[in-house]
Amino acid sequence: MTTMTYREAIRQGLREALHDDPRVFLMGEDVGRYGGAFACSRGLLEEFGPERIRDTPLSEDAFMGLGIGAALGGMRPIVEVMTVNFSLLSLDQVVNNAAILRHMSGGQFSVPLVVRMTTGGGRRVASQHSNSFEGWYAHIPGITVVAPATVHDARFMLQSALKEPDPVFIFEHIMLLPEQGAVDESLGPVDLRRAVVRRPGKEVTLITHGGSLGKCLTAARTLAEQGIEAEVIDLRCLRPLDMATILESVAKTHRAVIVDEAWRSGSHAAEISARIMEEGFYSLDAPVARVCSAEVPIPYAPQMEDAALPQPTDIVRTVQEMISSHG
Amino acid sequence: MNRDELKDIILSALIGVAPEADPATLRDNVPLRDQLDLDSMDFLNFIIAIHKRLGLEIAETDYPHFATLSSAISFLESKLSKS
C-alpha cells in the first residue's frame, strides 16, 4: 500500500501502460514538452520519446479523429483532451465515428480508443472551463463512460480501459488532481462497470460520482453526528449504469439523493432518478431528490462559484428535509 | 317462412341470451348447450324470445326439440305450417 496524489496515480497508470504495450501512445495538447496542462504526463516524453508522447495542434476534432484512425489501425491510443469543454469540438468524431464504427462496419472494425479529460468546476477558471458534461457522453450508446473518484481508481481504471475493444472515456475531476490517497498495487485490475458502496448506511442512499464523492462523504459524516446513517454509492461508471448496486441500496434505505455537479435539467441525475422509479418504485418511501449545480454559467467569483456548485451543506440539508418530515 | 328465415330468428334469440355466440361457428346438429354456456334461465329467455317473435305457444314438453339448431328449425317449421 502506497500513498500518492490523484495526478501521480494517473501518471503511474500512463507509465505502466506505455511500458507494457508498445501499441500504446499518448496524444494531446501540451502532453509532451510542457508535461501536460495539469502535469499528468510530466517526464513521460523524456522516458518514452516523441514517437509515443505526441504534442498536437489546438484542434480537438483533428486529433480525436487521428486517435480513432490509429485505433482502427491496430494501435492503442490514449487521447488526452484538456477539459470537457474543449472536447465539444471533437464531439462529431465521437458520435459519428468512434461510437458507431463497429455497428457501421457490421462488426468488422472496432475502435479500442481511450480518451481522458478533466471535468468539473471549483478551480476559479470561469464559465468556459468548469462544466461537467460527462452525463452528455453517457447518453451515447457504443462507448463506456467512467469517472475515477479515488486515487486507486485513477491509478487502475486506465489499465482496464485499455483492455476494452470499444471506446472508453475517462473523466478526471479537476479538483481531485492534488488529492492524496492510498493505492494498493496488489489489488490489480479494477472492474470498470461496477458501482461501489464507499460508506454503508441505512437511512438514505447518496448516489454520486467523481468530484462529488468527497462532498457526499463529508455530508455523510455530518449526518452521522445527527444520527442519520447515509449510504454513499460511487457510481464509477456512468455508462453502463450499475443499477443492481443502486437498487439493492435503495431497497434497504428507501430513500435516494443523487448528487451531480452537472445542471439538473436533462441530466444524468435525471436518468438515475427515472431508472430508480422504473425499477425500484415500490422501494421508495420518499420522492428521489437531486443536488445539482445551479442552472447558470459557472461563475468566476469564488463565493459565487461555491454557491453554484453542490456543497456538503446542500446535501445535508436535502437529506434532513427528506427525513425530518417523518416526525 | 323458410328455413333460413327461421334460422335467423333462432340465432338472434340466441345472441340475445349469449352475446358471445358467433353465428358463423355454431353447428346445426350439435346440441346448443354443448356449444354455448346456457343455463336454464338463458334457455327460458331464449324460448321467450322465440315465442314473442313468432307468437307461438311452446309447451315445456316441446323444449327437447330445441336441442340443436336444425331440430329447432324443423320443429318451428312444422308448428307454423299447422297453425
Binding site: H254, D285, A286, H326 | -
Partner: protein, 404 residues
C-alpha cells in the same frame, strides 16, 4: 340538509368510482330513487337515496374515484332551509385520469364523515403502500407523519404493530380507475379471492348433505307451467329458493350475520342467489323478503336479477344485504356443491343436478328425480343439529309444493 355518501357495498370495499349521475341538481328525488351509478369491485351498482327532497348540489363529478363515506351530493330535504353552497370535493378529472386528491377544509356539517377521508386518497409513499398491502393495513386508518401528512413506511409498520392483536382486516384490494371489461373482471376476481380467502381462513365450516326426492315438486310445477304462457313459466330453481326461505324461518340461526363476536339473527330473509357471469366470476346479489313472495313474484324477481347481474346494473342494497346464499350448480351436471360461506353470512346451501335414481316408495323401487342439497354453515354460530333441522324442513317444503 342530507348528505348522499359513497356507500360501502361490501365488506371489502374501500372506494368506488362515481360512473354516472342519474339525477341532476334541481331534480326532485324520493327515498328509494336510483340517483347514481357507482363502480366497485363487483361491477356497476345503482345507488338509491334514503331521503326525499331536492338534489341541491353534486360534489363529485363523474369519473372520480373516492373513498367510502365521501359526501357525493347534498340533498335538501323537503321543507328545509337552503344552505351555503359547498366546495366540490373533487375537481373534474382530466380525460382518462382518476381525480387528483385535493385537500378540503373540514365540511361545516359532516357528522357521519371523518374529515380525513373526504374526497382524497391518502398521500402515501410507494414503499408504504406496498407494505400496507402486504400487512393488510387500511391506509385510511394510518396517521401520516411525512411531508404534507404523507404516510411513510414507518407509519405503516407502526400502525400494523398497533393493531397486530386484532388483525382481522381483509387484504386491501388493489384499486383501479379504469372500467373496461378486463379490468372489471380482474376486480371481480380479486373481490372473490379476498372474500373466499377470508371465509376459509376465519370460518370453521361444517357440511351436511341430503338427497331430496323432487318428484312431487317437479310434477306439480310441470302441471302449473302447462297452463302458463311462455313468459310466465316458473323454473324449478324458484321452488328451491322459496323452500330455503321457508326452512330458514324455522332455523333462524342460519339466517344470521357474523358481527365479529357472534352471529346476529337477521330479521328479514334476503336470499343471495349466486349468478355466474358469462365472462367468468360470480356475484350473489339478494332477492329481498323471499319468504313473503309468491312463486310468481319470486320468478319475476329472479329473472330480473339474473339479467341485471349479467348486464352490470345491480342496486346498492341488493349487493350488501343478503342474509343467506343459495348456489345451484346443477346446470353443469355436478351432483353436489360444497359451498364456501360468503362473509358476514353464516351459511350457504348448494344444489346439484336433478338425476333419476332408483328410490323406494311404499316398499317399491321406483325411478325418482333426486337432488342433493348440501349445507355449509359456520360452526361458531350453529351446530350440526340445527343444520340437520334446516335440511329436513327444506325437504318437507319441497314435498308440498302447493304450499310454497
Amino acid at each position: 340538509m342530507a348528505e348522499f355518501l359513497m356507500p360501502k357495498l361490501g365488506t371489502d370495499m374501500q372506494e368506488g368510482i362515481l360512473v354516472e349521475w342519474l339525477k341532476k341538481p334541481g331534480d326532485a328525488v324520493h327515498r328509494g330513487d336510483l340517483i347514481a351509478e357507482v363502480e366497485t369491485d363487483k361491477g356497476t351498482i345503482q345507488v338509491e337515496c334514503f331521503t326525499s327532497g331536492v338534489l341541491e348540489q353534486i360534489l363529485v363529478p363523474e369519473g372520480s374515484t373516492v373513498p367510502v363515506g365521501t359526501v357525493l351530493a347534498i340533498i335538501k330535504e323537503e321543507g328545509a332551509p337552503p344552505e351555503a353552497i359547498r366546495q366540490p370535493v373533487v375537481a373534474a378529472p382530466a380525460a382518462g385520469q382518476t381525480a387528483a386528491a385535493k385537500p378540503l377544509e373540514a365540511p361545516p356539517l359532516a357528522p357521519t364523515v371523518k374529515p380525513s377521508t373526504v374526497g382524497q386518497r391518502a398521500l402515501m409513499s410507494p414503499a408504504a403502500r406496498k407494505r400496507a398491502r402486504e400487512l393488510g393495513v387500511d391506509p385510511e386508518s394510518i396517521h401520516g407523519t411525512g411531508r404534507g401528512g404523507a404516510i411513510s413506511l414507518e407509519d405503516v409498520e407502526k400502525a400494523a404493530a398497533a393493531k397486530a392483536a386484532v388483525s382481522t382486516a381483509p387484504p386491501a384490494t388493489t384499486t383501479a380507475s379504469v372500467s373496461e371489461p378486463a379490468a372489471r373482471m380482474a376486480r371481480i376476481r380479486q373481490a372473490i379471492a379476498a372474500a373466499m380467502s377470508r371465509s376459509k381462513r376465519e370460518i370453521p365450516h361444517y357440511y351436511l348433505s341430503t338427497s331430496i326426492d323432487m318428484h312431487s315438486a317437479l310434477s306439480w310445477l310441470a302441471e302449473k307451467n302447462a297452463a302458463l304462457p311462455v313468459p310466465d313459466r316458473i323454473l324449478y330453481a324458484t321452488l328451491l329458493i322459496k323452500a330455503v326461505a321457508l326452512a330458514l324461518r324455522e332455523t333462524p340461526e342460519l339466517n344470521a350475520l357474523w358481527d365479529g363476536q357472534q352471529g346476529v339473527i337477521a330479521k328479514d330473509i334476503h336470499i343471495g342467489v349466486a349468478v355466474s357471469l358469462r365472462q367468468g366470476g360470480l356475484i350473489a346479489p339478494a332477492i329481498h323478503h323471499v319468504d313473503r313472495l309468491s312463486l310468481e313474484e319470486l320468478m319475476v324477481k329472479l329473472r330480473d336479477l339474473v339479467q341485471r347481474t349479467r348486464t352490470g346494473a345491480l342496486r346498492a342494497s341488493e349487493m350488501t344485504d343478503p342474509t343467506f346464499t343459495v348456489t345451484n350448480l346443477g346446470e353443469q351436471g355436478v351432483e353436489s356443491v360444497y359451498g364456501i360461506i360468503n362473509p358476514p353470512q353464516v351459511a350457504i346451501v348448494g344444489f346439484g343436478s336433478i338425476v333419476q335414481r332408483p328410490w323406494i316408495v311404499d316398499g317399491q323401487i321406483v325411478p325418482r328425480p333426486i337432488i342433493t342439497a348440501t349445507l355449509a354453515a359456520d360452526h361458531r354460530v350453529s351446530d350440526g343439529h340445527r343444520g340437520g333441522l334446516f335440511l329436513r324442513a327444506l325437504d318437507r317444503w319441497l314435498q308440498e309444493p302447493a304450499k310454497l
